[in-house]
C-alpha cells in the first residue's frame, strides 16, 4: 500500500513523522549519493539515478500528494504538502524531475482537460513512469507568450507541429512536452494558440542542450519539424491555448513556492556558514546585508502564506507576478551575497564551480525565465494602470 493513502486522517505531526521516516528509510543505498544533488545549476547531475528515485517516490504515493483524490491524488492539505517539502529539504532530497508534470501539467489537466486525458496522463506522472517538459518560450517570442510562432496544423487524425522552443528544462529526459502552438494564424495573437501534448520520442523532434554561463546544460532548445501528436491530445479547444497556458503559469505559485523557499533557506544558511569561515560574518556591513537577506526570505514566506490564505488577494490574477518579482531578485541578490561571503577566492574555480559560484551564476536566469521581470511588471501594470499598447 502506498505510504500515504490515509493521510487525510493524520494529524500534522503524524504526517510529518510518516514523511520523515519514509525518507530516512528510502534515501539510502544507491540513493544516498543523491543527497544535495540536482538543485539549481545542477539539474544535469545523476539523471538516471534520479529517475529511479522518482519512481521510488511515486510507488510510495508521494507524487500528486496535493491532487484531489478524484484525480488519483492523495488530497493532502496545504499544510501537509508544505510539511512534505520541509522534510524533503531537511534531509537534502535531490532536485525533482517530476515537477513539470506534477505541478504544471497535472493541475492544468484537472482544470481544463477531459476525463480521458486525466485517466491517460495523470497515473504515469504519479508513478514517475512518464516525465514532462514545458514548451512555451521561443527564441523570437522571448517572454511574450502571445508571440509564439511554433505552428501546429491539423492533418487528419494528428496535429503536425513545426517550430522551435527554448528554456526547455529536462527536455532530454522528458517523454512528453506540453506545447503552446499557433493553430490559427489569422486569429488575434492570443486567440490563435492551442495547448498540445506532444510525445518527445519521435523523428520530428530534436533536443539540443544549451550550454549556459555555468558551463553546464540544464536548459535545451527543442526543434519541432513536423512532429506529430494524436488529434485528441489538445487541452481545451483549438484557440484556447492562451487561457489554458496562463492558467498553468498560475499554478507555478502556491505550495511549490513554499517548497522552493525551503531550498532558499538552506542556501542562505550555507552563505552564513561560509561567511563565518571567511570572516565576512564579522564585518558589520556584510552582516547587515545578510540579515536583510534573511528578512527578505521571511517576507517571501509571509507573501506565500498570505496568497495561499486569501486567494481573492489584493491583486487578483497577478499574485504570480508579484511572487516572481519578489523571489527572483531576492535569489539573485543571495547569489551576490554568497560571493561576497567567500571573498576574493570566489574568483577561483579549481575543480569546477563552487556552490556559491553556481548560485551566483545560475540566479542570473531567475529574472529571465518563466516570464522575465519585465514581463511580470507589464502584467502588474496592466492590472493597476490599465492595458496600453506595448512600448
Amino acid at each position: 500500500m502506498p505510504a500515504v493513502d490515509d493521510i487525510p486522517d493524520l494529524s500534522d505531526a503524524e504526517f510529518r513523522k510518516r514523511v520523515r521516516d519514509w525518507l530516512t528509510a528510502h534515501l539510502t543505498g544507491e540513493f544516498a549519493a543523491l543527497v544535495g544533488s540536482g538543485g539549481p545549476g545542477r539539474e544535469h547531475e545523476n539523471i538516471e539515478l534520479r529517475m529511479r528515485w522518482e519512481r521510488e517516490l511515486g510507488a510510495a504515493g508521494w507524487i500528486g500528494l496535493g491532487w484531489p483524490r478524484a484525480a488519483g491524488g492523495r488530497g493532502a492539505t496545504i499544510t501537509q504538502q508544505v510539511i512534505f517539502f520541509e522534510e524533503y529539504a531537511r534531509i537534502g532530497g535531490p532536485g525533482r524531475l517530476s515537477h513539470m508534470g506534477e505541478y504544471l501539467l497535472a493541475p492544468t489537466l484537472i482544470a481544463f482537460g477531459t476525463e480521458e486525458q486525466r485517466r491517460r496522463f495523470l497515473p504515469p506522472i504519479a508513478a514517475a513512469t512518464e516525465f514532462w517538459c514545458q514548451g512555451y518560450s521561443e527564441p523570437n517570442a522571448g517572454s511574450d507568450l502571445a508571440s509564439v510562432q511554433t505552428r501546429a496544423v491539423r492533418d487528419g487524425d494528428v496535429w503536425r507541429v513545426t517550430g522551435q522552443k527554448v528554456w526547455t528544462s529536462l527536455a532530454h529526459v522528458a517523454d512528453w512536452c506540453f506545447v503552446l502552438a499557433r493553430t490559427d494564424a489569422d486569429a488575434p495573437k492570443r486567440r490563435g494558440l492551442s495547448y498540445l501534448l506532444v510525445p518527445m520520442d519521435q523523428p520530428g523532434i530534436e533536443v539540443r542542450p544549451i550550454t549556459q554561463i555555468t558551463g553546464t546544460s540544464e536548459f535545451n532548445e527543442v526543434f519541432f519539424d513536423g512532429a506529430v501528436t494524436a488529434a485528441e491530445n489538445i487541452v481545451g479547444e483549438p484557440g484556447d491555448g492562451w487561457r489554458v497556458a496562463t492558467g498553468t503559469l498560475a499554478f507555478e505559485r502556491g505550495v511549490a513556492t513554499l517548497g522552493q523557499q525551503l531550498g532558499f533557506a538552506r542556501e542562505l544558511d550555507e552563505v552564513f556558514a561560509v561567511a563565518r569561515t571567511s570572516g565576512a560574518y564579522d564585518d558589520p556591513v556584510w552582516r547587515d546585508a545578510a540579515v536583510d537577506a534573511w528578512v527578505g526570505l521571511q517576507t517571501l514566506r509571509h507573501q506565500a502564506l498570505r496568497t495561499l490564505g486569501t486567494p481573492e488577494g489584493d491583486l487578483p490574477g497577478v499574485e504570480a507576478s508579484v511572487s516572481k518579482l519578489l523571489w527572483a531578485p531576492w535569489h539573485q541578490r543571495l547569489g551576490e551575497l554568497a560571493m561576497s561571503a567567500v571573498g576574493p577566492t570566489a574568483t577561483l574555480a579549481d575543480g569546477g564551480l563552487s556552490d556559491a559560484q553556481r548560485l551566483f551564476l545560475y540566479t542570473r536566469a531567475d529574472t529571465i525565465y518563466g516570464g522575465s521581470n519585465e514581463i511580470q511588471r507589464n502584467i502588474i501594470a496592466d492590472r493597476l494602470l490599465g492595458r496600453v499598447p506595448r512600448s
Binding site: 552564513f272 552582516r287 547587515d288 545578510a290 540579515v291 536583510d292 534573511w294 528578512v295 521571511q298 517576507t299 509571509h302 507573501q303 502564506l305 498570505r306 496568497t307 495561499l308 490564505g309 486569501t310 489584493d314 491583486l315 507576478s321 508579484v322 518579482l325 519578489l326 519585465e374 511580470q376 511588471r377 507589464n378 502588474i380 501594470a381 493597476l384 494602470l385 490599465g386 496600453v388 499598447p389 506595448r390 512600448s391
Partner: protein
C-alpha cells in the same frame, strides 16, 4: 494559520473606511494639528473601535489584534489625526491581571492613552533606558524622562516603561502628574511630546516591556501599510489622468514598471505586517514584529517618495497631500529603530 478575513472583519473595514472617507478628509486632517477631538469622540463612541481588542468583561468587544489592525490600516490611509494607535497599543500593553481598572475607560474612549518608551539619547533601546520606578505612596513613584511619545500631549494617561529594582515593568501615570512638552513635528498629522516624571504617582500595569515594544512596532507596520496603499492609489489615479506628450502618464512604460515595483513592495509589506498581527499571541511575534516594522516602513517610504516624484511639481507643493504621506512614512521609519537597528534586533532574536 488563517490569513483571510471573516465577513464581520470585512464589514468592519468597510464601515471604518466609509466613516473616515467622510470625516477624516484632507482638509480636516490638515486643520486638526494632529488631534481632532470630535473625530476621536465619534470614532470611539459611534464606531466603538477603541473597544475592539479589550475583553468583554472589561467593557470591550473581545475581538483580536486583527480587528485593531484593520482599523489601524484604515487610520494610516487617511493619516488619522486622532490618538487611536497610541491608545490601542497602550491598552494592549496593559496586563488585565494588573491594570484591569484602566481598561473600561480605554474601551469606551473616554481615556486617551499613550505609550512612553523611548528616552532622550537612548532612543528605543530598552537596555539604555534610565527611567525608574520605586515603591511609594499607594503604589509606585516614577522618575525619568521619555521622548517621542506619540500623542503624548493629548493623552489622559500614559503607560511608561521603567525599571524597578532591576525589573523592567510598565507603569500607568495620570497625565496631570507628568510635565509634558509638546513638540512641533516634521509630520504635522501626528504630534509627539516629551514627558518628564518627577516623583509621579504610578501603578504597575504590566511586566512585559518587550511585548509593548513589539506591539508598537506591529501597529506602526500595519499603519504604514495603510499609508503606502493610499499613496500608491493616489499616484495611480494621477498617472491615469495627467497627460504628457499627448497621452496619460499611465501609458509610459518606464513609469508603469516603477509603479509595478511599488505595488510589489506594498504587497510584501502587507504580508509581513499582517503576518505579525496573526502571530501576536505566539513566540514568533518577537521576530515578526520588528521585521514587519522594517519591511512596512521601508515600503511606505519608497512609495511615498516615488509618489512625490511621479506627481512632478505638484507633488512638491504643500497643497497636495503627497508630502503628508511622505512625512508620516518618514516619521514611522525613523521612530523606534531605523532599518539598521531593527536588523540588529532581528539578528539577535533569530540567532543569525
Amino acid at each position: 494559520m488563517e490569513f483571510g478575513f471573516t465577513t464581520e472583519q470585512t464589514d468592519l473595514r468597510d464601515t471604518v473606511r466609509t466613516f473616515l472617507a467622510r470625516h477624516a478628509t484632507s482638509a480636516r486632517v490638515r486643520a486638526a494639528d494632529g488631534f481632532d477631538a470630535t473625530l476621536w469622540r465619534r470614532l470611539a463612541g459611534e464606531l466603538g473601535v477603541t473597544a475592539l481588542a479589550i475583553d468583554e468583561k472589561h467593557g470591550g468587544f473581545g475581538a483580536s489584534e486583527v480587528e485593531v489592525g484593520i482599523v489601524l490600516e484604515e487610520a494610516g490611509r487617511v493619516l488619522l489625526p486622532a490618538p487611536y494607535l497610541s491608545t490601542v497599543v497602550a491598552a494592549a500593553a496593559v496586563d488585565p491581571a494588573l491594570g484591569a481598572d484602566l481598561l473600561p475607560g480605554l474601551a469606551d474612549g473616554s481615556v486617551i492613552a499613550a505609550l512612553a518608551l523611548a528616552e532622550p539619547g537612548a532612543g528605543w533601546t530598552p537596555d539604555r533606558w534610565s527611567c525608574t520606578a520605586r515603591r511609594g505612596g499607594d503604589g509606585y513613584v516614577l522618575d525619568g524622562v521619555k521622548e517621542h511619545v506619540l500623542d503624548g500631549a493629548v493623552a489622559d494617561m500614559v503607560v511608561v516603561a521603567a525599571v524597578c529594582g532591576g525589573e523592567p515593568g510598565l507603569y500607568a501615570v495620570r497625565a496631570e502628574d507628568v510635565r509634558r512638552t509638546p513638540h512641533d513635528t516634521l509630520d504635522p498629522t501626528r504630534r509627539q511630546a516629551r514627558l518628564e516624571f518627577d516623583g509621579a504617582a504610578a501603578s504597575l500595569v504590566g511586566r512585559d516591556v518587550r511585548r509593548a515594544v513589539d506591539l508598537l512596532w506591529a501597529a506602526l507596520a500595519v499603519e504604514s501599510v495603510g499609508v503606502a496603499r493610499a499613496s500608491l492609489e493616489l499616484t495611480v489615479d494621477y498617472l491615469k489622468t495627467r497627460q504628457q506628450f499627448g497621452v496619460p502618464l499611465a501609458h509610459f512604460q518606464a513609469l508603469r514598471h516603477r509603479v509595478a515595483d511599488l505595488a510589489v513592495a506594498v504587497e510584501a509589506a502587507t504580508s509581513s505586517a499582517w503576518y505579525a498581527l496573526r502571530v501576536a499571541g505566539t513566540e514568533e511575534f518577537a521576530i515578526a514584529a520588528p521585521l514587519a516594522k522594517l519591511v512596512a516602513t521601508r515600503a511606505a517610504y519608497a512609495v511615498t517618495a516615488e509618489s512625490i516624484q511621479l506627481h512632478g511639481a505638484l507633488g512638491f507643493t504643500w497643497e497636495h497631500d503627497a508630502h503628508l504621506h511622505f512625512k508620516r512614512a518618514t516619521a514611522n521609519r525613523l521612530l523606534l529603530g531605523d532599518e539598521v537597528a531593527l536588523r540588529r534586533v532581528i539578528a539577535a532574536r533569530a540567532g543569525l
